[in-house]
Amino acid sequence: MADGAMIKPGVPVSFNKVQKSFGSVRVLEELNLQVQPGEFLVLLGASGSGKTTALRILSGLETASAGRVTIGDRDVTDILPKYRDISMVFQSYALYPHKTVAENIGFPLKVRKVPRAEMQAAIKDAAAQVQLDHLLGRYPRELSGGQRQRVALARAIIRRPSVFLMDEPLSNLDAKLRGHMRAELKHMQQSFGITTIYVTHDQIEAMTLAHRIAILEKGVLQQLDTPEQIYNNPANLFVAQFIGSPPMNIVKGSLDSSTFQAHGAAVAVPVQGRVDSAVLGVRPEDCTLAAPAPGGLTGEIYTTELIGDHTLVTLKIGGDFLAVKASKDFRAAPGQVAGVGVARERLFVFDAASGARLT
C-alpha cells in the first residue's frame, strides 16, 4: 500500500458559541474556535480552565450545553463519538489490559470488522511507525510507560482519522522521555497532516508543538495565536504571566501620561493615559543589570542562580521580585544594590484590575 494513499487531507474543526455547565457551574463560556485543516492546535490552560471539557465536547464523550461543533463540513454536535471519525490518546493511555499490544492496536479495526489479513498488515504498519514491532505479543503490564504511550499512539493512528485528539498524552512520562516523544509527535503530525487538537497544561509542550495555541482560563478563551505571537505579544496580563519560564516580571505601580511610576522609579513607556493601578511587565531576558541611577529601577540582589548558559539574578524592588537573565559569568553578593535597565520597546503595561493590555 502506498503511503500517500492512506493520508487524508486535514479537515477544519470549529467550535461555535459552545457552552458547558455542570449543574450550576459554568466550565466553558461561549467558546469560538476555528481550527485550520492539518493544524496542530494546542489548548493550554491550568487545571479547571475548561480545556479538557472542550476536547471532550469535540470527542462526543461530553455534550455541549449550547452551541455547535463541526468537523469538516459536518455538524457533529449530536452525533455519536464513533461516527465523528476521530481518535483520541488519553493521559492514562487507556490500554485494554487483557489484550496484547497487537490486539490493542488493532481494536479500532476489529470493531469495524476489517478483514483479518488487512488488519494484520495495518497493525504491523502502525506498530512500525512507533517502533513497537518487536513487542506485539506482549501485554500492557509488561511494558514501560513510554512503550504504553506508543501503543496508545499506534491505536490512534491505525485508523487514519480526520482529527486526532490528545489529552495530556505526555504528562505521565519522565522528563527525558517526554522531550523525545514530543519531537516524535511533532514529526508524526507533520508527516500525516491530520488536524490535531492537543490539551496540555505544560507551556513548553504548547510552545514547541503548536502551530497555534489557544489559552483558556476559567472557561474563557484568552488568546488564540502562534507561539511567537503569544510570547511576544500577549493579549492580557494572564497570558503574559502564564507563558514564559521564568515568567514575565511584574511591577505594580501607576501610569501617568507616558511614565510608569513604582517604588520611586519612573520608567518611560510607549503608552499615553492615566491609570492609578497599573502593572508593568517585562521578560527577564529583556532586562539588563546596570549601575544604580536616580529615577531608575533599583533593587537589592536577592539570589543568583547559575542555570548553565546564563545566570538568573533575582532582585527585590520594594515588594516585587524581578528576575534578570545575566551572563553566565555574572557574580554578585546578595544584598548588593543594582539598577535594572529595560528595553523600552519590549515593555508591556497592563491595567491591574482588568488585566487588559494598555501598550
Binding site: 492514562s92 490500554l95 485494554y96 481494536f107 470493531v111 500492557p140 510507560g145
Partner: protein, 393 residues
C-alpha cells in the same frame, strides 16, 4: 534520643524485643505469628469440623449414632455402609438405573427438540428420587444462576454507566394504571389482555404528553436502592402470593417456576455486587473503546466483562451456592417432579423412625460435592491483578 537505642545485630536484642518486635520491616513478630496461626488453626477446625462430622456420620448406623458421640472411625466405631446403601437400595437407584435414567433423559430431550417436526412419545424414566432431586437441583441452580448473572450484570452495568432520570410522576401514573387494569379485569369483567394493552397504551400516551410537566426525577441511586430493597423483604412474606401466582398459570412443581423465582430472588445481590465491580473500572477504557467505534454491548462484552472476571466469578459462585441451598421456595413450589436436594435431606428428618442421620449425611455429602468442584474451578478466576497496566503510567 541517643543512637544507642537502635539494635543492629540480632544478638543485641533482648528477649522481649525478640518476642514482640518484628525482625524486619514487613514481617511479623514471633508473638504476632503465634497468635495469628493459633487463630487460623482454631478457625479452620471450626469451619472444617462440620464437614468431617457429616462425612463420618454417613458411615455410621442407628446404633452408633444413638450410643455416640464417636469421633474417629475404626478407633471409636466400626464404619458401615448403611447410609450409603439406603441411597442405592431403591431398585430404581442402582448403577443400571442410573445409566438408564440418563439415557431416558437424553432421549426425551431429543424428542422435545424434534417435536415441532415429528412427534415422538416420551419415555417415563424409572424414578430414583435422590437422582431426580440431584438432577433437578443441578438444572434449577445452573439455569437460575445463568439467568440471574446475565440479567443482573447487564442491569448493574447500565446503572453504573448510564444516568437514568425517570420522572416520579410517570412512575406514580404507571402504578395507578396497573392497579386500574387489574381492578377492571377482576371486577368489571374486562379481558385481562385487553386491560393490559389499554393501560400500557394509555401510559405511553400520558407519559409523552403529561410527562413534560413533571419536574422531580429519580436517579440511579434510587433505582439501585429499589432493587436492593427487594432483598430486604423476608421471602416468607411473598412465598404464598408467589405460590398462588404460579398455581394460576399452572407452573407449580416445574423447573421453570423455581428457576424464575431463584433468579428474581438473587437479582438484587448480583446487581449490588456487580455494580460495585463495574464502578471500580477506569472509565477511560470504555470511553476509548467508544471512540474506537465499539457498540455499548461490544464494550460490555469485550472490555468490561473480561476485566471484571474475578468479581463475576465470585458473584456467580455466591449465587450458585444460594440457589443450590435454597429451601423455602422449593418446599412451597415443588411437590414431586421438581423437588430439589434440600427437600430430600429434609425428608430424612420425618417419618416414624425419627431422623435418619446416617442417610441424611450421605445425601449431604453427595450434595456438597458439586459446590466444592465449582469453587475449585472458579478459584482460578478469582485472582487479582487483572487491571494491571490499564491506566497506570
Amino acid at each position: 534520643m541517643s543512637q544507642a537505642n537502635f539494635k543492629f545485630e540480632k544478638s543485641d536484642r533482648s528477649l522481649m524485643e525478640r518476642l514482640f518486635e518484628p525482625p524486619a520491616p514487613g514481617k511479623m513478630s514471633f508473638t504476632g505469628n503465634l497468635v495469628a496461626y493459633a487463630l487460623l488453626l482454631f478457625w479452620s477446625a471450626f469451619v472444617l469440623f462440620p464437614i468431617y462430622w457429616v462425612i463420618i456420620t454417613s458411615f455410621k448406623d442407628a446404633k452408633i449414632v444413638n450410643e455416640g458421640p464417636y469421633y474417629i472411625p475404626f478407633y471409636d466405631f466400626q464404619p458401615t455402609l448403611d447410609g450409603w446403601r439406603a441411597l442405592t437400595i431403591d431398585p430404581d437407584c442402582g448403577p443400571y438405573a442410573f445409566v438408564h435414567q440418563i439415557g431416558v433423559n437424553l432421549y426425551n430431550a431429543f424428542a422435545y427438540l424434534v417435536s415441532p417436526l415429528v412427534t415422538i412419545d416420551r419415555m417415563q424414566p424409572a424414578i430414583c428420587k435422590v437422582l431426580l432431586a440431584y438432577q433437578n437441583s443441578l438444572i434449577i441452580s445452573i439455569f437460575a444462576t445463568a439467568l440471574c448473572m446475565i440479567v443482573g450484570s447487564m442491569a448493574a452495568y447500565a446503572l453504573a454507566r448510564v444516568a437514568y432520570a425517570p420522572k416520579f410522576g410517570n412512575i406514580v401514573m404507571f402504578v395507578i394504571l396497573a392497579l386500574g387494569s387489574i381492578l377492571t379485569s377482576t371486577y368489571a369483567g374486562v379481558h385481562w389482555a385487553l386491560a393490559t394493552v389499554a393501560a400500557l397504551a394509555l401510559f405511553f400516551l400520558l407519559a409523552r404528553s403529561l410527562g413534560r410537566f413533571f419536574k422531580s426525577t429519580l436517579g440511579n441511586n434510587d433505582i439501585l436502592f429499589w432493587i436492593i430493597s427487594q432483598r430486604i423483604l423476608p421471602p416468607i412474606v411473598v412465598v404464598i402470593p408467589i405460590y398462588m401466582m404460579f398455581q394460576a398459570v399452572g407452573l407449580v412443581d416445574s423447573h421453570l417456576a423455581l428457576i424464575l423465582v431463584y433468579a428474581v430472588a438473587n437479582l438484587p445481590i448480583v446487581v449490588w455486587l456487580m455494580y460495585d465491580f463495574f464502578r471500580s473500572l477506569p472509565i477511560e477504557l470504555e470511553e476509548s473503546a467508544q471512540l474506537d467505534g465499539a457498540t455499548r454491548f461490544g464494550i460490555f462484552w469485550d472490555i468490561v466483562l473480561p476485566l471484571t472476571r474475578p468479581g463475576f466469578a465470585a458473584t456467580t459462585l455466591l449465587t450458585l451456592i444460594l440457589n443450590w441451598n435454597e429451601y423455602l421456595f422449593a418446599v412451597f413450589l415443588s411437590t414431586a417432579k421438581a423437588q430439589t436436594m434440600p427437600i430430600m435431606i429434609q425428608a430424612k428428618n420425618a417419618g416414624e423412625r425419627g431422623t435418619l442421620w446416617w442417610e441424611m449425611s450421605a445425601i449431604i455429602v453427595v450434595m456438597i460435592i458439586p459446590v466444592i468442584l465449582m469453587a475449585i474451578f472458579l478459584q482460578r478466576f478469582i485472582a487479582k491483578g487483572v487491571l494491571l497496566g490499564a491506566v497506570k503510567g
